[in-house]
């Protein structure tokens, strides 16, 4: 089924959700929308309120204030909700003694659907051969597939997937990324939650970054990367003798000197310089042309001069820096993790 994405009315709107659990504020004015034809990444550190938001959208938890609407209605008012929204919250939530097929069968019956649709989604998710095995014996990756099969059961225009890549092998991850892209290409709205920004790279059209129960950024992926890059330039200085392909070792030793020289030159020229750690420098406050001119004038050769390409990870870390609830300083101090591990 193809859904008209031209009429890009949001399929899910979340407005001003607040929710407290005892003394803890889980949601503090969460507001965003999910649009058809797009994969919306929903990302934030653990405890940012992602799962609580999803549970409120699905009518499992009640918000203290604010509302979440699905196709303009509260979820709990939907008659056959799985035909509006397919969701995967917790892949392990199933009766372990029931077979995969029977698990889908009762779900299908609850939506007025039959066994044929069950066999279709088993096929889509590659579970046909495991259909008559007990779901309790499934690996986490297979449970994720079963959960996705359940989400697809009602052929819904909207999908909510909470950490669907967890426990999947590389082959499964590639398969799922393709599936999610094709669902969005059908015109469906996909909300894909993850605590790892890397998983959203190249798959999300839009990201909603959350921290401490509210939205920190809600932007198209391209816009977000531009904002974070902010006109910075990456330059890779090299020692004169290394130009043209000298010995790698000599280049590394001399390169360290070249970095210092280049840094001094660029700071003198009015730029602010940050070593990227891989032998290159990230320069802000100077255009690429100005950098090329400065280095040329001082006889510092360079092998690369490009507009800095921020990764989604950079954007995410920059946005959530203030909003991470649970860091692990104690662990880092004991030297179990490098101090810069997050």
């Amino acid at each position: 089924m193809v859904f008209p994405s031209l009429l890009a009315h949001p399929t899910i709107t979340v407005t001003g959700l607040h929710k407290r659990f005892g003394a803890t504020t889980a949601l503090d004015g969460m507001t965003f929308a999910v649009r058809p034809g797009q994969v919306t990444g929903f990302v934030g550190p653990n405890g940012a309120g992602k799962s609580t938001t999803l549970r409120i959208i699905l009518g499992l938890d009640a918000a203290d204030t604010g509302e979440a609407l699905v196709d303009g209605q509260p979820y709990r008012a939907l008659r056959h909700p799985l035909r509006h929204v397919g969701s995967l919250l917790d892949a392990s939530a199933l009766g372990p003694g029931r077979t995969a097929r029977n698990h889908l069968l009762w779900l299908a019956h609850s939506q007025g659907l039959g066994a044929r649709r069950v066999d279709e989604v088993l096929e889509t998710t590659g579970l046909t051969s495991a259909a008559r095995r007990r779901a309790g014996g499934f690996s986490l990756g297979m449970r994720q597939r079963l959960g996705i099969a359940a989400a697809l059961l009602g052929d819904p225009p909207t999908l909510l997937l909470d950490e669907p890549f967890n426990g999947m092998d590389p082959e499964g991850i590639i398969w799922l990324r393709r599936l999610i892209r094709s669902l969005a290409a059908d015109g469906r709205a996909v909300l894909l939650s993850s605590h790892l920004m890397r998983q959203l790279e190249d798959i999300a059209d839009r990201v909603v970054v959350v921290g401490r129960g509210r939205v920190l950024a809600d932007a198209a992926v391209g816009d977000l990367l531009t904002t974070v890059s902010d006109g910075r330039v990456t330059v890779r200085p090299v020692a004169p003798m290394a130009v043209g392909g000298g010995e790698a070792e000599a280049a590394a030793v001399a390169g360290a000197g070249a970095l210092d020289v280049a840094t001094a030159v660029l700071v003198d020229g009015g730029g602010s310089v940050l070593p990227a750690g891989d032998g290159s420098l990230v320069v802000a406050g100077l255009s690429a042309e100005a950098i090329a001119a400065l280095l040329g004038r001082h006889g510092v050769p360079f092998s690369e001069l490009t507009a800095h390409r921020a990764t989604l990870e950079d954007a995410y870390l920059q946005l959530t820096e203030q909003a991470v609830d649970y860091r692990a300083p104690a662990v880092a101090d004991r030297g179990v993790l490098p101090a810069d591990a997050r």
Partner: protein, 266 residues
């Protein structure tokens, strides 16, 4: 509602533990009745139909476990979030589960009670208690060397104790479903129901004050419900009144469950 009922029926049908649990209920009920019937030496005037239905007092424990697990297992596995996502009208989920409990427990209890009645005919010594009919002369003539059980008299096949026992077990199942849904735990649910069924009668027995003892006996779900098995009227609790009080227990538990289910976060 049709869809929800069908879904819950499919769920119960495909749950491997449920059918064996109901089979267990039938077996232990009939087995205890058989043991009692085979070993009893009832005095003249004893209530034979009630004696033959002794197994119900053990079978009710299995019915309680069944009723608790119908909902308790969903909380244990987290399946309840999937169920409520599929059917956000939570009272409807509970109603469908109640219907499934009624249907399955009624079917299993009918088999169990029929078994009890049968072993009662076969094993309870004749000549004692309620008078029984004479040997069928035709049967005696055909199988002279085989001992033929006494043909049951209408009194022995007392209908009320039998039908009442089936209803009793169904109500215990519903009470258990309501309790388990309210407490969201199989272990706590089983504990509460078994305490109501077995501990309350013990407490009642040791209460010194006769007025309090009578009140407790007129309220406890097991003592009031099982009054329906008595062939001779119990002076304290009428058989159908007793079952009526048990209906209040079951309805009360289910109402509490429905309210909590609707109001709580899953």
């Amino acid at each position: 509602m049709g869809c929800v009922l069908r879904a819950e029926w499919t769920k119960a049908r495909t749950s491997p533990g449920m059918s064996s649990l109901l089979a267990t209920m039938v077996v232990v009920t009939v087995a205890l009745s058989a043991a009692v019937a085979a070993t009893a030496d009832p005095l003249p005037g004893a209530d034979l139909p009630k004696l033959g239905l002794t197994g119900v007092q053990l079978g009710q424990a299995v019915v309680a476990v069944f009723g608790v697990l119908v909902m308790g297992e969903e909380y244990a596995t987290g399946l309840v979030t999937v169920t409520v996502t599929a059917v956000p009208h939570r009272a409807m989920v509970l109603a469908a589960k109640a219907a499934v409990v009624i249907g399955l427990v009624a079917a299993a209890a009918t088999v169990a009670v029929a078994g009890c009645v049968l072993v009662g005919w076969l094993l309870v010594p004749t000549g004692a208690g309620v008078p029984t009919g004479a040997l069928s002369s035709a049967a005696a003539g055909l199988h002279a060397e085989v001992p033929v059980p006494a043909a049951p008299s209408p009194d022995a096949v007392a209908v009320r104790p039998a039908v009442g026992s089936v209803l009793y077990l169904v109500l215990i199942g519903l009470l258990s479903l309501g309790v388990a849904t309210s407490v969201r735990s199989s272990a706590v649910g089983v504990g509460i129901v078994l305490a109501l069924l077995y501990v309350l009668p013990i407490v009642t027995a040791v209460v010194a004050d006769p007025t309090w003892q009578r009140h407790l006996r007129q309220l406890g779900p097991a003592s009031v419900g099982l009054a329906v098995q008595a062939s001779t009227a119990d002076p304290e609790i009428g058989p159908w009144t007793g079952l009526g009080i048990l209906v209040l227990w079951a309805v009360g538990a289910l109402l509490a469950a429905a309210i909590l289910l609707a109001r709580r976060d899953v």
